[in-house]
Symmetry: C2
Subunit: 172 residues, 2 copies
Amino acid sequence: MDAIEALKGRRSVRVYEDKPVPKDVIEEIIDTARLAPTANNIQPWEFIVVTDPAARRKIADLTDWGKFIAQSGACVAVYAKAVKHYLEDGSAAIENILVAAHALGLGTCWVAGYGKDYGEPIREMLGVPEGYKLVGLVSLGYPAERPEAKGKRGVSDVLHWERYRDKSTKEA
Amino acid sequence: MDAIEALKGRRSVRVYEDKPVPKDVIEEIIDTARLAPTANNIQPWEFIVVTDPAARRKIADLTDWGKFIAQSGACVAVYAKAVKHYLEDGSAAIENILVAAHALGLGTCWVAGYGKDYGEPIREMLGVPEGYKLVGLVSLGYPAERPEAKGKRGVSDVLHWERYRDKSTKEA
């Protein structure tokens, strides 16, 4: 799939077909994540791919907005060493996962990790060392829905040339 | 360009040709940024595109590791309302900018914004309202270098199946 098309076409998918995701496809996706930009080349991230249904059910139950993780083919738990820019690094890596998955015909949904109380119990459950922070959980599977982009601000609303201008006020 | 190729091929580019980036190319890039995932669809981001050489020089001088912004064709300052997940949202948007730019033949470098003391003076300089936080600065231009990926951890080092395993210890 074309890169621009993939970037624009990615949506949050929360309903999946009951079909596993092949291991080599997951490896290809994580290969794009590890090549995301990272401050000072620290690469603080670890990607734990959970396919086991019982483990996914447990993760889903621990989250607030990630119940669909129980029904997806896989869940990628992204943890990072708590270095200064871990949240930016980890978020860039997750975005690569989402875009790569979409390009390969899969659907994903990013379940937030920052500031969530399930970061620690999931870390312990997955055997991730102490001190690592949950960046986010990504559900991954073959999409059984095709959501439209809804209520998105337009380019002219978010893009400011040279200087910020208040776009909420209509100007002459 | 193919999406997977674009995700894997992006590098941090800090040396640029002395050549402006067309406005419609910048608009296309920001169009991918505004479609990045965003918690609760808040879309807290604003993208201020600075092409003016004097303004870029001023921004470059304020930063620690962004001196090359003075020589790039443009600089995108990404600010966001300080909502809970602004840093993840803003980072996903920046990653889209980097990948889109690479797919369109441009080079970029992400200059960190989080926790940096230049966030406020650049905000004031660009007329961004109080309360917005700098996510990052992105230099943008036609690349005059082709950096290789250096010292990257391999897929098998960062990917863990079902459970974290310490990869630093060689196992049988």
